[in-house]
């Protein structure tokens, strides 16, 4: 249905396609567009490069996009482009990240600081406030990774000073995470838990390492290392069912896709929103350059792992 | 630069006839080491203004090293250099050295990707900082025309032939206006007319008071051009004397350190000759109707068992291409090659090797050597069988094999494990020849095998070639040097890809040169018919 919509079309750029999370974000977008969603131009892929985001956006607006959906993984370097789009009165929906500056119509994201904080609380409670945990960080220049690290560190310091945290930078790379964790395990045999900032990248390597070292005891047995992950991809749910992973925070790929399109269409229709609770269980808050819809990011444990509302369970069925 | 600490006390430089002018260059007590090798050991050298000074010595004596020191390319470990009485520029300031001395280095010092014009005027373009291309090309054309070289100045240098290239380097050095010009084996890549042109030019410059330091392994060239000669032996200076009063034997004796008069036998004692497969008259190598368009015409060639055949031709006369086709490096357009009656697949080096054709390439730097690898490895590069079972090469056997070759060809090296790049030019050449012999070929095809090799080694190398033939095999020497061709039983002269004449032993040099240059006038010595296309090998 290209070009059929009188109010204009939506230009969408997906940030990358080499992770499970963004891959299913893209799947949901496609599914929603196919099922009577708004008219959109073909998706562009910026391969995790902010320069490409800008050039894609320019190509999309050149082709007549009247609203833009992006997920800029670098929140600073998108500023100029946001200003340019504002000058041309093209509304922007930013998914997953909150641009530092430059007007946005709506930010659709789960709160990454909340990920770090809730992971910290989960670990803190499970370990009873003392012990030793490793934190597999992402790419230090990624805003989401940094938010998680900062919130986790602040929370640990404030609420669980008895827990020693070893921060390991990994560039979102599984083999780096595995190597560093292995070194740490050689040094500290008394490790109690691991916080995996991205289940998509770290889960299998960490499980493989623990299995090799004979440390992969099921949840609830003595000697078990508490593992908390973020992302909520199907692999993580499977691990929770299998009793190897304690918990994950499900980043709602489906909701990202659905509400990105929802707000883009609303923008085309000229609708405006105001801060406050929404009809889909989230809250819109005011930020300095626009509004942000903070979508719920449920904590998934053995108890609710089969909840059909979890996006990973849906995509499993969809396939 | 200081005098050698602890070195031999700097001896007095040779007293020259009293001259008011300071010497064009004076080097005192130069010491230069390369790792374990002492390349120069307290060498002195004085070249007076306007003098043509020859520097001779065996391969590896240190001549090129001395040149490097005199031109600021290498930093001596000890010693002093002065130009016109003024100490030499600081090391590492090449521009300043350039003003003192111009040099034709032994190894090509050109930039292949740049044009001829640019190479001629590299770093000293006429005019201001901005280049005027048209003017530059004009001047380049004029300059080269003076040497009889006709190339497009806008052509890239890599498109030139060896001889043209050499003239570009010579023209560059001579046109620089320096009062001292160093020529390190400038004639090695020129043919006879080229050498004549070069010498004419040098004499003109000399008349203008330019001094030369001239290096060559051709003693007759030294005699023709120079008035003083310095002999280096084993990194030391052994003699400086006027050329006039010095016989060739005395010079060779100085170079080799043997007593004058005691000449060693020209040919090494024959080896325990392998049973020569006495032939039924089949030539070991035969080429029929061989042709490569643009290089040589249909041409027939035969080398009999026990025969050494010379293929004589000027530098660009297509003879090198004949050798390359025989060796399998190029595919011929027509014709067939057989070795001992068995056909050889054209255009394939491995097949040529298996068939028994050993090859000494023209340019040892380009096609001969793998510079970073050891002497032993270079020697055994083509050897397949005897170094170990099933495609293995056992280091012990390789080294043993290499030692034998080193001894056989008198290669100067610290040992089989020395990287071949650390050898002097002549010794590198011997490695290439030895490599061709290593597989025990039925026929040896050698292009200018004695290129850059000193007098004594030349004898030895040619002696080895002769031995190969005497052992019942054959050899084809592609060369334009009379000295190389002297050992041949038969010489085939080629001009522009066509056989012009054939000579048997005892030819006169003038006739040969004339045939090579296409001047078929004059009666060849004991010639066969000039149009002999099929020259059957005949045992001498």
């Amino acid at each position: 249905n290209r070009g059929s919509d009188a109010t204009g079309r939506i230009g969408i750029d997906v940030p990358r396609t080499d992770t499970d999370f963004w891959d299913s974000y893209q799947d949901h977008l496609k599914a929603d567009l196919a099922h009577g969603g708004p008219a959109a131009l073909p998706l562009a892929n910026s391969q995790n490069d902010i320069g490409k985001v800008v050039s894609d956006v320019q190509a999309l607006t050149g082709q007549g996009a009247r609203a833009i959906v992006i997920a800029p993984q670098d929140t600073g370097a998108i500023t100029a482009e946001l200003r340019r789009l504002a000058d041309r009165r093209i509304p922007v929906v930013s998914v997953d990240t909150r641009p530092d500056d430059g007007p946005v119509y709506m930010v659709v994201r789960a709160d990454n600081r909340a990920y770090g904080e809730r992971s910290c609380v989960f670990l803190g409670e499970r370990l009873g406030g003392h012990g030793r945990v490793a934190e597999l960080q992402g790419d230090l220049s990624s805003i989401n990774g940094r938010d998680r690290s900062e919130a986790f560190a602040a929370c640990m310091k404030r609420r669980y000073p008895g827990i020693t945290v070893h921060e390991l930078a990994t560039d979102w790379k599984g083999e780096v995470a595995s190597a560093k964790l292995q070194s740490l395990l050689a040094q500290h045999h008394d490790l109690d838990g691991v916080y995996l900032q991205a289940g998509g990248a770290f889960l299998q390597p960490v499980l493989a390492l623990l299995r090799q070292r004979g440390l992969l005891e099921p949840v609830g047995t003595p000697g078990h290392l508490t593992l908390v992950s973020n992302d909520g991809i199907p692999d993580e749910l499977a691990a929770i069912r299998a009793g190897t992973l304690d918990a994950t925070l499900s980043q709602p790929a489906d909701l990202y896709a659905r509400y990105a399109l929802y707000y883009a269409r609303a923008a085309l229709a000229g609708k405006t929103f105001r801060p406050g609770p929404t009809d889909h269980g989230s809250t819109i808050v005011k930020i300095k350059n626009g509004l942000e819809d903070q979508l719920p990011a449920p904590l998934v444990t053995k108890e609710n792992v089969n909840d059909p509302h979890l996006w990973a369970n849906q995509s499993e069925q969809g396939k | 630069m200081t005098a050698a600490p602890g070195g031999p006390a700097p001896e007095e430089p040779t007293r020259e006839p009293a001259v008011a002018e300071p010497p064009a260059v004076r080097a005192e007590g130069i010491v230069k080491r390369y790792g374990p090798t002492l390349a120069l050991d307290g060498v002195h050298l004085t070249v007076r203004p306007g003098e043509a000074h020859a520097l001779v010595g065996r391969n590896g004596a240190g001549k090129s090293t001395l040149v490097s020191v005199l031109t600021g390319m290498a930093r001596p470990d000890a010693g002093r250099v002065a130009f016109g009485g003024v100490p030499a520029p600081r090391w590492g300031d090449p521009a300043a050295w350039q003003r003192q001395v111009a040099c034709v280095h032994q190894r090509s010092m050109t930039v292949p990707g740049l044009t001829v014009a640019e190479n001629l005027f590299l770093n000293r373009f006429p005019g201001g900082p901005a280049l005027r291309w048209r003017a530059l090309r004009g001047r380049a054309r004029d300059l080269l025309a003076g040497y009889g070289v006709d190339v497009d100045p806008a052509a890239r240098l890599e498109e030139l032939g060896v001889e043209q290239l050499q003239f570009v380097e010579i023209a560059r050095a001579l046109s620089r206006g320096a009062r001292l010009i160093v020529l390190d084996e400038p004639t090695a890549r020129l043919d006879a007319p080229g050498i004549a042109r070069l010498f004419g030019r040098l004499r003109e410059l000399r008349a203008q008071g330019v001094a030369f330091l001239f290096i060559s392994h051709h003693l007759q060239e030294v005699r023709a051009l120079c008035d003083t000669v310095t002999v280096l032996r084993d990194a030391r200076r052994v003699l400086t004397a006027p050329v006039a009063g010095l016989g060739e034997d005395a010079l060779v004796a100085a170079m080799t350190g043997e007593d004058a008069g005691h000449r060693r036998p020209a040919r090494a004692p024959a080896p325990p000759a392998p049973p020569a497969p006495r032939t039924d008259g089949t030539p070991v190598l035969r080429a029929e109707g061989l042709a490569l368009r643009g290089h040589f015409g249909p041409l027939d060639l035969a080398v009999g068992a026990g025969e050494v055949v010379g293929l004589a031709g000027a530098a660009a006369g297509g003879t090198t291409a004949v050798a390359e086709v025989l060796a399998g490096l190029r595919s011929p357009d027509a014709g067939r090659i057989t070795v001992r009656g068995r056909p050889v697949r054209p255009g394939s080096v491995p097949h040529a090797l298996d068939a028994g054709i050993g090859y000494v390439p023209e340019d040892r730097h380009r096609e001969g050597l793998v510079p970073a690898r050891s002497v032993a490895e270079n020697l055994t590069l083509a050897v397949t069988g005897p170094l170990g079972p099933c495609g293995t090469v056992l280091p012990a056997r390789t080294r043993e094999f290499a030692r034998r070759m080193i001894a056989a060809l008198d290669i100067r090296t610290t040992g089989p494990d020395q990287p071949v790049s650390g050898l002097s030019g002549g010794n590198q050449q011997k490695v290439v020849v030895a490599r061709a012999l290593a597989r025990d070929p039925a026929v040896l095809v050698a292009v200018r095998p004695t290129n850059g090799v000193d007098v004594r080694s030349k004898e030895a190398l040619l002696g080895v070639v002769r031995q190969v033939a005497d052992g019942g095999r054959g050899a084809l020497i592609v060369s334009d040097e009379p000295a190389d061709l002297r050992i041949c039983d038969r010489v085939v002269a080629v001009f522009r890809g066509r056989v012009r004449a054939e000579f048997r032993r005892g030819w006169r040099e003038a006739d040969l040169v004339a045939a090579m240059e296409g001047v078929t006038a004059g009666t060849p010595g004991p010639p066969t018919a000039p149009d002999t296309s099929t020259t059957e090998g005949t045992a001498p």
């Binding site: 562009a44 320019q58 100029a80 530092d100 | 050109t110 640019e118 900082p129």
Partner: protein, 343 residues
């Protein structure tokens, strides 16, 4: 007779060694990507009429500017026979250091030192670039370590320094003087485009007509010969490395203005692109060959490929595959249009 290689006289049927007069083959090489660019233009137009709109084309050129400047610097370094991988980090680090020295210690999100007035930011940035180039020169020319790995180490170290200084954040509160060049337009075309073209033209002229420019080819083609000809090879190489650093830092200035902030991953992963652009544009990795014009066509080709793919709506999962396939195609086409083997 003095004719060494005269054209074969009538009596010699098989011609002597062939030296057919030819159009200087080197020339073609520089234009070998032009057919590729034209082809991309046609495909772009078929794919979407928006391709030929002024907006789109200017957009493509503007997006090429930062990469273009890096390629300019790298081309100079490659021509003189070296490599500099660290340019990829310089484009990010130089602005960060400059801003760190300039931004006030309090008030902004990023705590700088506030040592210097804010107008010094651009000169400071260029100076940092120069310093990095000089450091590379020190490693390669004084310590004589392998240039590839030395600059690879620098790349890692400088990116680490960038991360450490910026704490992984992007710096958005950039002084106006710093952002000006990257975001302003002159005569309706981004200033960056004018500047970049001017620098390429300048560089091209210097390489073609200046003695020191020609010296780069000599140094890259045969350093020993260059030294023997009296060229101060080390000094010139060092200058080129510094220049490349400065160009990369300047690309950082443009980038910052263009995108409105210094991002923490600015330039990360670009160096492959830089090499790809230079080499498909005809610059040899072995030194001594290639022109800046060729390098520029290389940059434009890469950028056009991305633009055409975006306009064509290639499914995201397959963009990278297509990208690689098109690079290979461009390489093969340029090899056959230039008629030369590439080394």
């Amino acid at each position: 007779m003095t004719e060494t290689t005269a054209p074969p006289a009538a009596d010699a049927p098989p011609a002597g060694p062939v030296r057919r007069p030819r159009i200087a083959p080197g020339r073609w090489r520089d234009f070998s990507l032009v057919p590729v660019i034209l082809l991309l233009g046609v495909v772009g137009f078929i794919v979407s009429p928006a391709f030929l709109s002024g907006d789109n084309l200017i957009g493509v050129v503007q997006q090429s500017t930062e990469l273009g400047l890096l390629v300019l610097g790298e081309a100079l370094v490659l021509i003189s026979g070296r490599m500099d991988l660290s340019l990829e980090s310089t484009i990010g680090l130089a602005p960060v250091v400059a801003l760190w020295l300039v931004l006030p210690a309090h008030g902004g999100r990023f705590a700088g030192l506030g040592l210097l007035p804010s107008w010094t930011a651009v000169p400071l940035c260029l100076a940092v670039g120069a310093a990095i180039g000089a450091a590379n020169g020190f490693l390669m020319l004084r310590l004589r370590v392998n240039g590839f790995i030395a600059t690879l180490g620098m790349l890692t170290m400088l990116r680490g320094l960038h991360l450490g200084l910026s704490e992984g954040r992007s710096l958005a509160d950039v002084p106006d003087s710093f952002a000006y060049l990257g975001r302003t337009s002159w005569l309706g075309v981004p200033a960056a485009v004018w500047i970049c073209l001017a620098l390429f033209a300048l560089g091209g002229a210097a390489l073609g007509y200046l003695r020191h420019g020609r010296a780069l080819y000599a140094i890259g083609g045969n350093p020993e010969a260059a030294r023997a000809a009296g060229i101060r090879t080390d000094r010139i190489t060092w200058t080129v490395l510094v220049l490349a650093g400065v160009l990369a830092a300047f690309a950082g200035v443009l980038y910052t203005g263009h995108y409105g902030a210094v991002s923490a991953s600015q330039g990360s992963g670009w160096i492959f692109q830089v090499f790809a652009a230079a080499v498909i544009g005809g610059i040899s990795l072995k030194g001594g060959r290639g022109t800046l014009f060729g390098a520029l066509t290389g940059v434009l080709t890469l950028q056009l490929v991305i633009n055409v793919m975006t306009l064509g709506g290639v499914p995201p999962l397959w963009t990278q595959f297509l990208n690689g396939a098109i690079i290979l195609l461009a390489l093969v086409v340029s090899r056959f249009t230039s008629g030369e083997q590439q080394e």
